[in-house]
Symmetry: C2
Subunit: 333 residues, 2 copies
């Protein structure tokens, strides 16, 4: 586990999109961040208090989290100077960048000298077991999508947050680097060796209290030919009791696959349920989460109502409307 709280490194992020990871931490685990660190060239903010490295330490920060994508795909000399200073001052560093911290000699040397840890969360740090498929105690909910990047992580975080607000017993279980940095732990499933994918998901979602819900972060899509194997392993390793179908209605083709149309929500339901029931015969599809950000304010409610009537399931945009009705839908499980 990455030690919290964090100081969020925004570096020289030109805009909000580049600071997506920091924004996710600010939105979902504000208690995990004491402030933000910006370089002079930074063109955005996540709205936290600006701090120097020294001020972050004084506020209790244990880890400097790279909350930003790196320009050009390499770790610049300017970044490195700051990161080495942080290690010298006693910070751990955590990163989801493709370029690994551990591949930078200066950072490795400074971490060793100071006894600090570099967390490259894209790389598994655990030798996961082969899945054994044994039935586990507690409840699990998995968001699956008609496509990649349709709001599965957001849906899981929103349902977990709603449950906590109600005093219910739940945990968000990250399976990608953004989710791992937001919560401090999880499994970078897309980087796991094929034979151990389902076992990694079992490891992530162990036996739990009978009233406890895991909200497992979804990945890929059963209909996305590049990543469907990862989705399959999530369904069979997670043995979910409940599935939430996620959709983005304005997309014209599968992400990165211009020749592939999106499936209907019906097609997703009909493919996913028999698959899920291999591992958990009681699994049900309980609700629909729609990312309506590209639908106008006067259009999205009509769309959701149409989906809800057609599918016979609650259909909500958790960003616009909250996840209350999705959590309500778990009550019967």
């Amino acid at each position: 586990m990455i030690q919290t709280p964090y100081l969020l490194f925004l570096g020289d992020a030109p805009d909000q999109l580049a600071a997506k990871v920091a924004q996710g931490i600010k939105d979902w685990r504000p208690e995990n961040a004491v402030g933000q660190f910006r370089m002079p060239a930074c063109g955005t903010t996540v709205g936290l208090q600006d701090m120097t490295l020294e001020e972050g330490l004084a506020a209790g920060a244990k880890t400097l989290v790279i909350g930003v994508a790196n320009r050009g795909g390499y770790i610049s000399a300017e970044w490195k100077e700051i990161l080495v200073s942080a290690l010298n001052m006693g910070y751990d560093i955590a990163s989801g960048l493709h370029n690994l911290l551990r591949d930078e000699n200066e950072l490795m040397a400074a971490a060793r000298v100071n006894g600090r840890t570099l967390f490259d969360v894209r790389i598994p740090s655990v030798a996961y077991p082969i899945a054994n498929g044994k039935n586990r105690t507690g409840k699990r909910c998995l968001a699956i999508g008609t496509d990649c990047s349709v709001g599965k992580m957001y849906t899981g975080l929103a349902m977990d947050t709603e449950m906590h607000a109600r005093g219910m017993n739940s945990t968000f279980r990250p399976t990608g680097q953004t989710g791992i940095l937001i919560t401090g732990g999880g499994v970078p499933l897309d980087a796991v060796i094929a034979d151990f994918m389902a076992g990694a998901v079992e490891y992530l979602t162990p036996d739990n209290d009978a009233d406890h819900w895991d909200h497992i972060e979804g990945q890929g899509s059963l209909f996305h030919v590049s990543y469907s194997g990862v989705t399959m392993a999530l369904i069979h390793g997670g043995q979910p009791d409940a599935l939430i179908l996620c959709h983005e209605p304005t997309r014209t083709h599968m992400r990165g696959l211009p020749e592939y149309d999106l499936p209907s929500l019906e097609a997703l339901r009909d493919m996913a349920l028999p698959i899920a029931r291999v591992a958990n015969p009681a699994c049900k599809v309980v609700g629909i989460s729609v990312n309506t950000q590209h639908l106008a304010d006067d259009k999205f409610e009509a769309y959701l109502a149409e989906v809800e009537a057609r599918m016979g399931l609650p259909a909500v945009d958790p960003f616009r409307q909250g996840a209350a009705r999705l959590v309500d839908a778990l009550a019967d499980i």
Copy 2:
């Protein structure tokens, strides 16, 4: 690619089961092996001519292939002495053992000094791409199973062999270490990083002549929760035109999963076809391959006849009956 022909190292294999890889090479690619090398303690044979390392070289062997499982899960001092001699004499060495050749200092040193190559076929040697899902020319056939280890590799090899005997244009495409050693190349799919599984299968089965068939070696099962993600990537990466359903009728539960029953052939067909049609809308289930080794000589034909009538598809045991009717079933595709 591993250089052929091989000398097959049987080492101190106690019995035929331990020499499974060597037997596979002898059965399916006899032209790839000049002979077998046995240590004094060896308790089995694959029926090839016994040769010393020198005799193997004289017969043209380029690579010493470890055709046997290692006792105790480590590479013994006795083995190492022989393997180092082979490297010194000019052999490459290829192995599918869990213990990697490259992790043995003596072998690495001898390979370096002599400019030879150590092939650990369990480990990918290529940086596979992310799958792009683009439609490819040529035809592809994939064997999928109700369970693991029900004869998928055997089915693909038998169909490929039958096609060659008929003068047809086909290639067996291995996805596991035994198949890779048999043919000299392939993708060790269970060791590929999750994000690249489907891309590895695309890489393995590229554009080809319109009349060419790839017989893709299947892995796992859509119903085997430990490995179903690998199977999924095979189906979406392979974009098969034809599926063969494989089954072993006497198995009482899924391999390694005592709590899981085997699915029916109907359930396998009904789950697999919609999945396969995501990548190839024209995909059909064309035949059934049954491993009847545990059915008596007076029972297996009645069983196959019953399956054939029930499923409306040719049902054969390619080991007992040959793969001719499965190849015939591809004619309509």
